[in-house]
Amino acid sequence: MIAKMIFRRLLVSVVILFAASMLVFVATLLLPGDPAQAILGQQATPARLDALREQMSLNDPVWQRYLNWIGGLFVGDLGYSAATGGPVSELLGERIQASLVLMGLASLVSIPVGIIVGTFSALRRGRPLDHVATGFSLVLAALPEFVVGIALITLLSTSVLKIFPSVTMAPPGEAVWAYPIQLVLPTLTLALVVTPYIVRMMRATMLEVLDSGFVEMARLKGVPERDVILKHAVPHALAPVAQVIAIQLAWMAGGVVVIEFLFRYPGIGSALVDAVTNRDVQVVQALSILIAAAYIVVNLLADLVGILTNPKLRTEAVR
């Protein structure tokens, strides 16, 4: 029963991923400009252009190119970048790592902070702490990410305090995270953008759980408040919050674009902006499908966690 459910869910994810890959492929196909021309430059002779087109299989029918591309994805072959001439996988390897580091750090900050603040806010419902927390999260949730970023730069980097660098740089051959101080502002921005959603969701579900019959029952049983919160309330609030966290993680995969652009952070976001302006079709395709896949996988994981942690579904067979 539960295996069947998970299988169904997996199947749906695969179908969606395929549909998304088609969408990405078609969209990138429509990008103006000729990739062969882009690689060879303006002075390329027609003969060389033709040879390269042949080599890049640009003369093949569209469906065949799609199949080739999809086939390549499975073996980790993402094609060749028009801008550098090198393999896309090589080009993106470091970028992906850098973005993952940024997103990982932001998650490490925002998830615990979001859960703790949201929980306390719910427990202190209507009190000053709650008002401050909800007020802040309401304001932050409204702000576009670049507004948050620029505000942080002005406050902490350029105009008021001059503590953190506003631009990310790493010496050749060294990774961005070798200079942790550079990561502070991008991480903080990303965390500030993501946290309010977690706070709000945590607060809302906690309020709901705190009003639920079994929490009231726990209190009426004489369970100490700490245990009521930690053993009875929080575990129930976590499942819906996990969904929101998943959505936020997935959002990060695409939403880091603006933040990376702002801080010149060498991740997939800035790579995507570059690739789109450079008509680097293979890179755009690779990144789009990568981000889409991340979104689908994260959502799948959240759903699986939901299925597996639900005792109702887990013990279905027993009944």
Partner: protein
């Protein structure tokens, strides 16, 4: 005739490629340091080094651009970082000095015969390659054979189409035999992409005669060069080591300089010149150049097929204001003529000024009494290009020219429609008149963006090209320029300065008119004044 920067943007692979941030270690302070430094006053001012150059030290140069396609190939430099590396590893027969004067480099002299069909070049006898072998005529022949190899022509091959054969006369004399009489062939030889390399040259083993030897190279990131102890010039280079670092953009570049992660950076935004220069630790190298950023009107298409419309557009421009707004005052006003450093430059032609009534009148005569609507295609092809388009749009409005800006990205700009936009922009580095005219103003030109086809102009250019006598040649050039002044398709409103910045302990960098950054990348002259 030497063109230091041949069509470089056109060769670039679609735009500025993915480049990594390449800075040496240390904390990035951000631009905030800039303001704090301003307020700390003179206490932290380091006096500029004086006296004779000091030997030793390492210079770290930051440049924006480049990417993983960077190479050390002597004959295929594409990005700014490629050029900076090539200039320091290799040397051509002649070169353009800081005043845009053509000077011998590996040659002692270059002289044409009377018909300007055979050029004889005498080579410097005391030059050795990095691997210790002497540089001889054989190597020159091999070099040009490599460049013009029909199977794999290098970037300068186009300008060498007039070259029939390179013949060694003796160990240190070479003859260049041409198929067309060319009085300015020496200009062609003075390109940095014509560095002389040994016959067995392989870019993977970048051996040249330059002041520095390649030590390590990481494309798109960084290169480390060491001093060439056998360099033929006395007492040069001063530095032990030269690091060239790629940066992806101006912000990172400026931050790296301010946090002393690099010692010098090439090309800073002109609008920030004052602010950066106000930092007592930083010096600015502000060089006037002959580079130009024209608006291009297609003379064979409506509405610009009517010369009155072209004149009206030229009269609508407030050139000094252009320099003020676009270049923050760092530039020279243009007179719709390129090649300002050419000996034949028509200096006597009156400077064109904004004249709105005249422009309106011309438009009215041309059949546009109620003004004219025009689309201007712009793209961030060079710093200031989109800005110039915006300023033009604002200025031209007064003359009843309603400009609709169409901003496209660089890839689209240089895409299929490049050279066929009706009204657009472009950017060219400093060149003398004849190579420039050959590139962009003749029906046979590869980049005739204005679609100019003036028989009289073509005849004058051809005559000048074969005229060995410099005075007569200059006269012919002036005549040709007058045609451009009267009826050409370019609006050349000015020549932007090239601004670089460096730490005040760096010495030996001087302004350079070629348009290349940081003394034309001639780091052989640079030295470090204070030990860090």
């Amino acid at each position: 005739m030497i063109s230091p920067e041949p069509y470089d943007h056109r060769l670039q692979k679609a735009g500025p490629a993915h480049s990594r941030r390449n800075v040496l270690g240390g904390m990035v302070l951000g631009m905030g340091i800039l303001l704090s430094a301003c307020t700390t006053g003179a206490a932290s001012v380091i006096p500029a080094p004086a006296g004779p150059p000091v030997k030793g030290g390492r210079l770290r140069v930051g440049l924006a651009g480049g990417g993983s396609a960077d190479s050390l190939d002597a004959h295929a430099p594409v990005s700014t970082t490629d050029i900076a590396r090539v200039v320091n590893l290799y040397e051509a027969l002649l070169y353009r000095d800081e005043n845009f004067a053509l000077k011998p480099l590996l040659a002692l002299s270059a002289t044409p015969d009377d018909a300007a069909l055979v050029w004889t070049v005498k080579l410097r006898p005391d030059v050795r390659f990095h691997d210790g072998r002497p540089m001889t005529a054989k190597d020159v022949v091999a070099t040009f054979a490599r460049i013009t190899n029909p199977k794999d022509p290098k970037s300068s091959a186009a300008s060498l189409s007039i070259l029939d054969a390179v013949v060694p006369v003796s160990d240190y004399v070479v003859e260049f035999r041409l198929n067309t009489p060319t009085a300015t062939f020496d200009d062609s030889l003075g390109q940095y992409a014509l560095g002389i390399v040994p016959g067995d040259y392989d870019p993977a083993r970048p051996v040249g005669t330059g002041p520095f030897k390649a030590k390590s190279f990481d494309p798109g990131r960084r290169s480390v060069f060491a001093r060439n102890d056998d360099y033929w010039r006395e007492n040069e280079p001063h530095l032990d080591e030269l690091d060239i670092l790629n940066f992806s953009d101006d912000d990172a570049l400026i931050n790296a300089l301010l946090s002393t992660q690099v010692d010098a950076i090439g090309q800073i935004p002109l609008a920030l010149l004052d602010v950066i220069g106000a930092d007592p630790r930083i010096k600015i190298l502000n060089s006037a150049t002959g580079a130009w950023m024209p608006f291009t009107m297609r003379v064979d298409q409506k509405p610009f097929d009517d010369v009155r419309v072209r004149r009206a557009f030229r009269l609508a421009v407030d050139r000094p204001q252009m320099i003020e707004q676009v270049l923050s005052g760092n530039g020279t006003v243009g007179n719709d003529l390129y090649a300002p450093f050419d000996p034949g430059h028509a200096k006597t032609l009156p400077q064109r000024r904004q004249d709105i009534p005249a422009a309106k009148k011309l438009l009215s005569e041309a059949g546009y009494p109620n003004g004219i609507d025009i689309e201007l295609v712009t793209a961030p092809i060079q710093a200031g290009a989109v800005e110039a388009a915006q300023v033009f749009a604002q200025q031209a409005a007064a003359a009843g020219i309603r400009v609709k800006l169409r901003r496209v990205d660089t890839t689209t700009y240089f895409g299929d429609d490049y050279l066929s936009w009706t009204f657009a922009q472009d950017f060219w580095y400093t060149r003398n008149f004849l190579p420039q005219a050959n590139s962009s103003s003749l029906p046979t030109s590869p980049f005739n963006e204005t679609h100019l086809d003036d028989p009289h102009f073509a005849v004058l250019v051809k005559e000048a090209a074969t005229e060995i006598d410099e005075t007569r040649r200059s006269a012919l050039i002036s005549q040709a320029q007058e045609i451009l002044y009267d009826s050409g398709g370019y609006i050349i409103w000015g020549f932007p300065n090239q601004a670089d910045a460096y730490q005040s302990y760096v010495a030996g960098l001087i302004p350079n008119k070629t348009g290349l950054s940081l003394s034309g990348y001639e780091f052989r002259r640079a030295w470090i004044g204070v030990t860090r």
